[in-house]
Structures are given as structure tokens and as C-alpha cells.
């Protein structure tokens, strides 16, 4: 069971990272989501894998560690807020650059101009 779970987390991480390294905003967002699934599962599993020990007092004889669950809950919510923001940001980038490339792509005027005059004398 543990091995399986570990493989799941590994896969989620790997796919998340792969998508993160793509060049368009959409796959990046999807990758981040996958990554956060993996991370949430990982954080959750720090309380170990147990069955039927839900941390509701009175519902079982033993209880699993409730703290990681609370942490994951917080992480999920925060992750949601962040995903929402990055999605919107990618929309904004699309609006600004007419392209959903992560680097904007529309050739901007060169940022730095070496001042030839100062360099070479007038």
C-alpha cells in the first residue's frame, strides 16, 4: 500500500514538474495543479495511511493523526487561491500580449540600449 501511495505521489510530482516546464500558461497551470495534488497527498500522508480511523471523536477506536489533515486543508485552500490568481494572471498576460506563451513572446523593444555615444565618444 505504501509503495503504491508513494508511486502515486511520485507520478503526480513528475507529471506536475513536466508540465511546469512547458512554454504555455495553460499547461503550466495544469502542472501546478497536479503538483499541488501530489504535495497535498504527501503532506497528508505524513500522518501515515490508516483505514477507518477518521479523527472524529467517537467514530472509531483509534484515530489517525488529525494535524496533517488540518494542514492539508489549509494548503488546499491556499493552493486554490493561488491557482485562481495564476489563472487570472495568465489571462491578463494573454490580454496584454495576444499570446499565451509564458514569456509573453511579443517582441518588446530592447530593454537596454547601450549608449553608443557615451561609449565611443561624440
Amino acid at each position: 500500500m505504501e509503495l503504491m501511495f508513494a508511486l502515486v505521489i511520485g507520478t503526480l510530482t513528475a507529471t506536475g514538474v513536466y508540465l511546469l516546464l512547458r512554454a504555455r500558461t495553460f499547461p503550466v497551470v495544469v502542472g501546478l495543479t497536479l503538483l499541488s495534488y501530489g504535495v497535498n497527498l504527501f503532506l497528508f500522508s505524513t500522518g501515515r495511511l490508516v483505514t477507518g480511523q477518521q479523527p472524529i471523536i467517537g467514530s472509531a477506536e483509534h484515530y489517525t493523526d488529525p494535524l496533517p489533515q488540518a494542514l492539508v486543508l489549509t494548503a488546499i485552500v491556499i493552493g486554490f487561491a493561488m491557482t485562481a490568481f495564476v489563472v487570472v494572471l495568465s489571462l491578463r498576460s494573454l490580454a496584454d500580449h495576444d499570446d499565451d506563451h509564458v514569456d509573453g513572446r511579443r517582441d518588446e523593444p530592447p530593454l537596454r540600449e547601450i549608449d553608443e555615444t557615451e561609449a565611443n565618444g561624440q
Partner: protein, 505 residues
């Protein structure tokens, strides 16, 4: 238990809530209330500084739960210092923003206050996971602030900043998970006790977690190779936001100080000084990279943004070496560089506003209207930033140089820092002489006169560097004491024994 500890968090929170409600109130009212909030934050920070100055730890246990079970705020000298730095920078940037940069969308003040809240939580919290939450609060607010203002230039750098930090957050969570899975606790004091006796697989897991955490903090602090998101993002941000962001990289530094000195400090057994052997060379390379970037910068804001990277490297090098003198020096330098960089961002913006389409690019342009005032501010800022006497940057640097007195580290640190300073001087003198002196008679529409608020706040930030020099004695006494306190982890872990309010519920 001292309710003052709550103030730097609750004040901005309430202020931000008020701002959320006041979406359609007149701008003057919103400005007044927002500024009042920032002033109150500064007041509370100063109170905390006075409290902390007696050298004891003060804790605040949320919900009256004994640490390590509940979340605690811990006030010590370091936290108080960071709070004051943030509050001062925040207030001055805020005043600058009220000078006109806050127009354009109604959420600015709310986001600004939330940003301050996140920073303050990060500085006060004594809980690793809560530190994560604080990071998220300050990050999300910074994302919002970064995108404040019109124009398309900041979208892509903003996107990069956000995506990288999201990955950073994921890594943070993984590290917290790894550490928790072995130690079973999140309170930093408790963690410090828990990591001492580790061995075998446990040790490796925590070590991996700790090192990954260093990457996260390194990302926030913007050390090489994780710093490339910064220059463009900062250079493109609205000026008061960029100025406030001067403290953002310091949060990463703060976190490194806090976590690595406490949890992986000298007493941590096999994990003692974890990752510091990585940090030192990286800090120096960061410094070098920053200098190269500054030298090649094409605009003033870009130059200042690279100055941020320079200061990160300068700051982390002595931190990595970890001596008390080094820490004290780093803290002094932190004060200096934060204000200087913040001030320079504001000045660059003022310059930009007076040069028409040339903006802040380092090229010839028509003469500015308030050239003398701006050039003096820039000069002072540049002198402080480059670390030449008589301003605070110089003192920061010699304190750092002096803290390393032997070995190969000395050779590396000294040569990189000094050569770096030399090149920075060249970069600033080149930029300044072109921007301020090499003017043409253009047919530029006469730019508006600078208004009092922006001039005063930019001037005040720059002037702080002089203040730091004048007060260098007391300040170094404080930073010395802070460094000593940081090294005395036993006193920190003793907070676990502090009694709660009588069991009431």
C-alpha cells in the same frame, strides 16, 4: 502573554477589512484611513522594539494553547527589528503611494495593508507551518500589488514571479511534511529540540527537508540561481510597491536566520549548520551576479533591482558563516540596504516621471525639472548602496568585512565584496552622470512639479541612511545583542515552558 504582540497583525488586518468595505468611498477618506493604519503599525512596532530590547522572549499563544500544540508568536530582538524596518519602509512607501500611485484601482490600500500583515506574521510567528501561511499571505498580496497599475510591461515578470513562488510554496509544504513526518511537531522551538537526536533514515529525511527549505527561502531571498525572476519584476512594479518589496527578499533572509540558527543551529547535532556550506559560495556568486547585472543595467529601476540582488548576496554571506559578529553586521547592513534600495526605487520613479519618454532609462534626455533635488537624493542613495563612506552602506560593509578575519572565506568574501563595491561605484557613477548630467535641449512638455508627499517620502527614505550612520552606535549595540540572542537557542526553546492563562474553558 502580552497583547501588544498581536497589534502588528491585527491593525493591518482590521485596516484592510475596512478598505475592503470602502470600495466606493472617496479616495481621500480611504487614503487617510489607510495611512492612519500604517502609522499605527509603526507605533506598535516601536513599542515591540522597546519591549524586545530587554533581551527576553515574549510569546503570544493563540487560543491559549500551550506550545507546541497551538500557534505562538514569539517576539525577540530580531523579530522586533524586522517589524520596525518593515513598518518604517511601509509607512514611507505608503505616503509615496498616496502621492498618486494608488490611483487606478481601489484595492491598492487593502492589498498594501495585507502585505504588511503577512510580513508581520512572518516575522513574529514561532511555528513552521504558520510561517508558510504567512509567506502565502505576503506573497498573494505581493502578487496583487505587483500587478497594480496600468500597462502591460509587468504582466510577464509578474507571471514568472507568481509561478516560481507557487512552486516554492509546494516545496515548502513538502519540506514541512518531511520534517513533520519525523519530528511530529511544527513549533520551531520544539523542532529545535526534536532534531537533536536524529540518526539513520530519520536524519536523512530531515536533512533533505531542511535543505529543500533552504531552497525555498533562497527563492524568496533571491539567491543565485533562483534570483532571475526578481530584476524584471521589481523594475516593472509600481514604485512604492517596488520600494516595499525591498523588504521582501529580507523575509527570505529572516527565515534563514530564524530557522537555520534555531532549528539547525550549533546544537542540532549531526544537522548543525545544515546547508550553510552551500549558502556561502552561493551568496558570493549572487553578489557577483548582482554586480554584473547592475553594471549592465539599462535603466535606473533595473539598476536598483540588481542592487537588491547585490544586497542579498552581501547579506547572506556573513549569515552563512554564522559568527555572532557576522550576524550583527548582516543585520546592520540589512537595515541600511532595505531603506536605501527602497529610497532608490522611489527616486528612480521620480526621475522617470520627469524625463518624458526616456523615463528612467540610462540615456540622454531633456533636463529634469527638479534636477538638483533628485540628483542629490540619487547621489546619497547611490553612495549608501555602493557602500562608500560616509553613509550606512559603508558601515554595513566594513562590519561584514571585519566579521570574517581568517581563512579562505576571508579571501573570497573580501575580494568579492570589495571588487563588487568598486564595480558598483562605476555603475552608479555612469548611470548618474548620464541621467542627471548629460542632457539635451528637448522639446519636452514641462513635467509636473513633484508633489510634497512623494518628495518627502523619497527624501525621508534616503535620509534614513544618514540617520543610521548617526545612530550607528546604539544600532550596532542592538544588533550585537540580537546576534547574541540568536545564538542562545536554549533561551528560545525555553518558551515551551511558559505558562498559559489559567485554564478557563
Amino acid at each position: 502573554m502580552n497583547d501588544w504582540l498581536l497589534a502588528p497583525i491585527l491593525i493591518p488586518l482590521l485596516g484592510a477589512i475596512v478598505q475592503a468595505f470602502m470600495g466606493y468611498a472617496p479616495i481621500s477618506l480611504r487614503r487617510t484611513l489607510a495611512l492612519a493604519t500604517t502609522v499605527l503599525i509603526l507605533v506598535s512596532a516601536i513599542v515591540l522594539l522597546i519591549l524586545a530590547n530587554d533581551g527576553s522572549y515574549r510569546i503570544y499563544a493563540f487560543g491559549n494553547w500551550q506550545p507546541p500544540f497551538g500557534i505562538v508568536l514569539v517576539l525577540d530582538r530580531l523579530a522586533a527589528l524586522m517589524l520596525v524596518v518593515t513598518a518604517v519602509l511601509g509607512l514611507l512607501s505608503h505616503i509615496y503611494a498616496v502621492g498618486g500611485a494608488d490611483e487606478g484601482n481601489r484595492q491598492f490600500h487593502g492589498l498594501f495593508l495585507f502585505q504588511l500583515m503577512g510580513l508581520n506574521i512572518a516575522f513574529l510567528t514561532g511555528d513552521l507551518f504558520n510561517l508558510f501561511v504567512a509567506f502565502e499571505v505576503l506573497l498573494i498580496a505581493s502578487y496583487g500589488l505587483l500587478m497594480h497599475g496600468g500597462g502591460t510591461a509587468r504582466t510577464v515578470p509578474g507571471l514568472h514571479y507568481v509561478v516560481l513562488n507557487l512552486v516554492g510554496s509546494a516545496i515548502f509544504l513538502i519540506s514541512v511534511g518531511m520534517i513533520y513526518s519525523v519530528t511530529g511537531t511544527l513549533n520551531m522551538a520544539d523542532l529545535a529540540l526534536a532534531v537533536r537526536g536524529l540518526s539513520g533514515a530519520d536524519l536523512e529525511i530531515v536533512r533533505a527537508g531542511g535543505l529543500m527549505l533552504l531552497v525555498v527561502f533562497g527563492l524568496k531571498a533571491a539567491i543565485l540561481p533562483l534570483c532571475f525572476w526578481l530584476p524584471k519584476a521589481y523594475a516593472k512594479a509600481t514604485a512604492p510597491v517596488a520600494a516595499l518589496f525591498a523588504v521582501m527578499t529580507k523575509v527570505g533572509t529572516y527565515a534563514i536566520l530564524r530557522v537555520y540558527l534555531l532549528v539547525f543551529g550549533d546544537n542540532a547535532g549531526p544537522l548543525a549548520n545544515l546547508g550553510m556550506d552551500w549558502l556561502f559560495p552561493l551568496a558570493l556568486i549572487t553578489l557577483a551576479m548582482g554586480v554584473i547585472g547592475a553594471l549592465g543595467a539599462g535603466s535606473l529601476k533595473n539598476l536598483v533591482a540588481w542592487q537588491v540582488i547585490i544586497s542579498v548576496g552581501t547579506l547572506l554571506a556573513p549569515v552563512a558563516l554564522g559568527s555572532e559578529a557576522g550576524l550583527s553586521a548582516a543585520l546592520f547592513y540589512l537595515l541600511s540596504t532595505t531603506f536605501t534600495v527602497g529610497g532608490l526605487f522611489l527616486v528612480s520613479d521620480l526621475v522617470s516621471s520627469q524625463r518624458g519618454s526616456a523615463a528612467d532609462r540610462i540615456i540622454t534626455a531633456p533636463k529634469m525639472r527638479n534636477r538638483t533635488f533628485l540628483s542629490v537624493l540619487f547621489l546619497v542613495g547611490a553612495v549608501a548602496a555602493a557602500g562608500i563612506p560616509p553613509l550606512s552602506g559603508f558601515f554595513g560593509k566594513i562590519l561584514i568585512l571585519q566579521s570574517v578575519q581568517s581563512g579562505a572565506e576571508m579571501g573570497w568574501l573580501w575580494s568579492v565584496l570589495l571588487i563588487g563595491s568598486f564595480l558598483t561605484v562605476i555603475a552608479y557613477s555612469r548611470a548618474g552622470s548620464i541621467v542627471f548630467w548629460r542632457t539635451v535641449d528637448g522639446h519636452l512638455e514641462r513635467p509636473a512639479r513633484l508633489n510634497g508627499r512623494v518628495s518627502a517620502s523619497a527624501g525621508a527614505l534616503i535620509a534614513l541612511t544618514v540617520t543610521l550612520v548617526v545612530l550607528a552606535g546604539p544600532i550596532t549595540r542592538y544588533t550585537d545583542a540580537t546576534a547574541a540572542q540568536l545564538h542562545n537557542t536554549a533561551a528560545y526553546t525555553a518558551i515551551l515552558q511558559i505558562p498559559m492563562v489559567a485554564e478557563g474553558n
